[in-house]
């Protein structure tokens, strides 16, 4: 009969620590999985009032209401797949929380809309850097048929060197121009007109934030 002799340095204390650490690690991993899962949900994201504006436009798009019943949540698009990257994205995402708590009053619809373009540009960059990875969780290029007759052919023949986000932006949230054609004055004027504000109010609001 073979007797397993534990090395000398495995004392009772070490054994206890290993078992406790192992269990703790497993529990932590479960916690992370659940944490990332919960923090990717629409319910979590919209606990901040500022996010309900993004939610409004999202709810009117096929990504919320698709005929097939598939619904993409906030995290499905905006949080990477896999526990490591998901956790990383959430860690980086805490800057949004910090800005929500200490930055401009994003809960105010005017302030929110004034800052929307920067948020959109950042989100587009995020998608581009990841080669639109989160789009591809659901969409498979080879399988895209589309409704119009030639959508499939376009996706087979015209997509080389392109990532989903290169063509498909302004899909879910409010329309924001591309960064290279964005005009701050025009955007401000639009916000002022929409909320019935005096011309110049938007610029004042923005400059008061930086002081």
């Amino acid at each position: 009969m073979i007797k397993l002799q534990a090395p000398h340095f495995i004392t009772r204390h070490v054994l206890f620590a290993l078992v406790a650490g192992g269990i703790g690690g497993v529990v932590f991993m479960f916690f992370l999985i659940e944490f990332d899962h919960y923090t990717s949900s629409n319910e979590f994201c919209t606990t901040c009032h500022s996010m309900t504006y993004a939610d409004d436009s999202y709810q009117s798009t096929p990504h919320y209401n698709s005929p097939s019943g598939v619904r993409a949540s906030c995290g499905d698009c905006h949080v990477s797949e896999g526990i490591i990257m998901a956790t990383y994205d959430h860690a980086i995402g805490t800057k949004d929380l910090i800005k929500q708590l200490f930055g401009p009053d994003y809960d105010d619809p005017v302030v929110n809309l004034l800052h929307l373009p920067e948020a959109a540009f950042a989100a587009r960059d995020w998608f581009r850097k990841r080669d639109s990875a989160t789009c591809k969780r659901c969409h498979t290029l080879e399988a895209i048929q589309g409704v119009r007759a030639n959508t499939a052919a376009i996706h087979q023949e015209e997509t080389e060197g392109k990532s989903c986000i290169d063509c498909h932006y302004n899909l879910v949230h409010r329309h924001v121009p591309s960064e290279n054609t964005f005009k701050r004055e025009a955007w401000n004027a639009m916000v002022e007109e929409e909320f019935g504000l005096e011309p110049g109010t938007a610029a004042q609001l923005l400059s008061s934030e930086t002081q």
């Binding site: 119009r148 030639n150 052919a153 023949e157 015209e158 329309h175 121009p177 054609t181 005009k183 025009a186």
Partner: protein
């Protein structure tokens, strides 16, 4: 012009014809002068393979176009600068949806400069202040995009998010105010993306706007001899011709383009569509008009009721800015150019006499209806008998239609030889409107001041006296006063009742229409005059004077 008084009428025409000779040779065929190295952007070639799939129709049109043949691709027209108000990113390129006349003018410089400042390019600017009354107050804002702006063009608004405001776009109205500030829309007449010469030479290129009750030019043309010949001989029109000079490349018939824009004989083509128009036919009162050309290339129409500006003088333009006058084209000269087109197919006397017939109609409209109606309306507004608010009183609709609808139809009908539009759809309705609606409504609005406001205006024209003769013979409506009774005269007590007299009167219409001695016909004639007068209240000094006159009549007869 002095010429007209001291020389035969045709001399100015010939003179300006010679002037045109010199201009013509240089500008006859508006070939693009830009070197071809300025187009054919390689990046633009990449648009095609995707758009063949995503928008096959427009890509096919482009494939079959002269643009494609010359190597002009999508980006050559649609490329934009990032700073442009309507610039957007599309597949890695900065483009704009709207291709403005300024964009087209990068190659088609001559056409761009000609259309700038024309009545076409200014079509929206001209009516901008009138739009609210009809489109917003009378109906609703939705009608501006669906109605007015479809022809006149919209003031395209780029929203803060870079998209084009759906209240103002899509739009290809000819006076569109574009995001780049230029006015007009080439695709109003030149259907994109084929831009076919033949299509733009067809009368149908103009029909989208020049049809309907207020400018029935399509209907006028079709009902004219010109339209008749065009329909019958369309296959001889050489519509695809490389050049399209009336009298040379085709002689079968003229289209809208032929007379208003086209090259004819030695006359060069022009994209200033109003250049050859001596009159303005779409105003309450028509005026012959000077075309003032400014140093900066802009233009201004000015009524010949005012003295023309001197060359080199400063003048305030409609947009408030001042410009230096480069040249003034007199109405006679404009008429002269138009007449030279006619001369490709017609004789000089024929042409001049036709123009006289046309001018006579416009002058008749002006003096008999347009000017009196305008004066009466002005007096009613001045005295507060009408509110300044437009279209809150029935009279305002009546006046509007008098000049804007039937008045315009009459003048357009006469200008392009549709008898039906000149008369039944035009001047007949002007007359009916004027006598049976406009004057009664104006008298009602004027109330006690009617005699003071309206009657002098009518009297001053010298053309409404016929109303003062209510007992004129009436063969057209089938009633004639009975003939004078045969001698010997009967005693008054034995005059038969009016009802009995009607029967012989009806017979008299057939047998003896000219024998209308109304003073001896007591009751029937006075009844008739009362009826006419009380129905329309037209010819009398006082509202009651109609029946008063009839009473006098009756007394005199008895």
């Amino acid at each position: 012009m002095m010429w007209s008084f001291s020389f035969p009428r045709s001399l100015p025409l010939i003179f300006w014809g010679f002037c045109m000779l010199f201009v013509a040779s240089a500008t006859q065929a508006a070939k693009v002068e830009l070197s071809s190295e300025h187009w054919g952007n390689p990046a633009g070639e990449r648009c095609v393979s995707c758009h063949e799939k995503s928008s096959a129709g427009l890509t096919r049109q482009w494939h079959e176009s002269a643009h494609r043949e010359a190597g002009v691709n999508c980006l050559d027209c649609h490329q934009a600068e990032a700073a442009d108000a309507d610039a957007m990113e599309h597949e890695g390129e900065i483009i704009a949806t709207i291709v403005s006349p300024k964009d087209c003018g990068r190659c088609h410089t001559k056409e761009y400069e000609e259309q700038a400042g024309s009545v076409h390019a200014e079509a929206y600017a001209k009516i901008k202040t009138r739009i609210p009354a009809l489109a917003h107050q009378l109906t609703g804002g939705a009608m501006q995009a669906a109605g007015c702006d479809q022809c006149h063009g919209s003031e395209v608004k780029v929203l803060g998010d870079g998209t084009l405001d759906p209240a103002t776009w899509p739009n290809s109205g000819i006076g569109r105010v574009n995001p780049d500030g230029s006015k007009g829309s080439c695709s109003s007449c030149h259907g994109r993306h084929a831009f076919s010469k033949a299509q733009a030479r067809e009368p149908s290129a103009c029909v989208r706007c020049h049809s309907g009750p207020d400018s029935p030019d399509k209907e006028v043309f079709e009902a004219s001899k010109h339209g008749m010949l065009y329909a019958a001989q369309r296959d001889q029109m050489n519509l695809d011709g490389e050049t399209w000079i009336a009298g040379k490349d085709y002689t079968a018939a003229p289209t809208c383009t032929t007379c208003h824009m086209g090259a004819a004989g030695k006359i060069p083509a022009t994209h200033d569509v109003g250049l050859r128009n001596a009159w303005n036919l779409n105003q309450p009162v028509s005026h012959k008009q000077y075309l003032i050309l400014f140093e900066d290339g802009s233009k201004l129409e000015q009524s010949d009721a005012e003295a023309p500006p001197r060359r080199g003088s400063e003048l305030v333009k409609p947009d408030g800015s001042t410009g230096k006058v480069r040249a003034v084209i007199a109405p006679d000269r404009r008429r002269g150019v138009m007449s030279l087109v006619c001369l490709e197919c017609h004789g000089k006397t024929f042409t001049e006499s036709f123009m006289t017939q046309f001018d006579n109609v416009v002058e008749l409209y002006n003096s008999k209806f347009g000017e009196p109606a305008e004066a009466i309306m002005a007096a009613l507004y001045e005295r507060g008998l009408l509110t300044p608010l437009p279209f809150d009183e029935p009279l305002e609709f009546t006046y509007w239609e008098l000049w804007h609808d039937e008045g315009a139809r009459a003048r357009h009908g006469a200008s392009m030889m549709s008898a039906n539009h000149a008369w039944w759809e035009g001047m007949y309705l002007v007359g009916r409107n004027f006598y049976s609606r406009f004057l009664p409504q104006a008298r009602a609005a004027a109330g006690e001041q009617a005699a003071e406001i309206i009657d002098p205006v009518l009297a001053s024209t010298g053309q409404h006296e016929w109303l003062g003769e209510p007992q004129q013979a009436n063969p057209i409506l089938g009633w004639m006063p009975p003939p004078a009774p045969a001698a010997p005269p009967v005693e008054p007590a034995e005059v038969p009742a009016a009802a009995l007299q009607l029967v012989p009167a009806a017979v008299a219409v057939v047998s003896e229409p000219a024998a209308a001695d109304t003073t001896s016909v007591p009751n029937a004639a006075s009844d008739a005059s009362t009826a006419v007068a009380s129905d329309t209240n037209l010819a009398q000094d006082k509202p009651q004077s109609g029946s008063a006159a009839a009473d006098e009549n009756q007394e005199a007869a008895q």
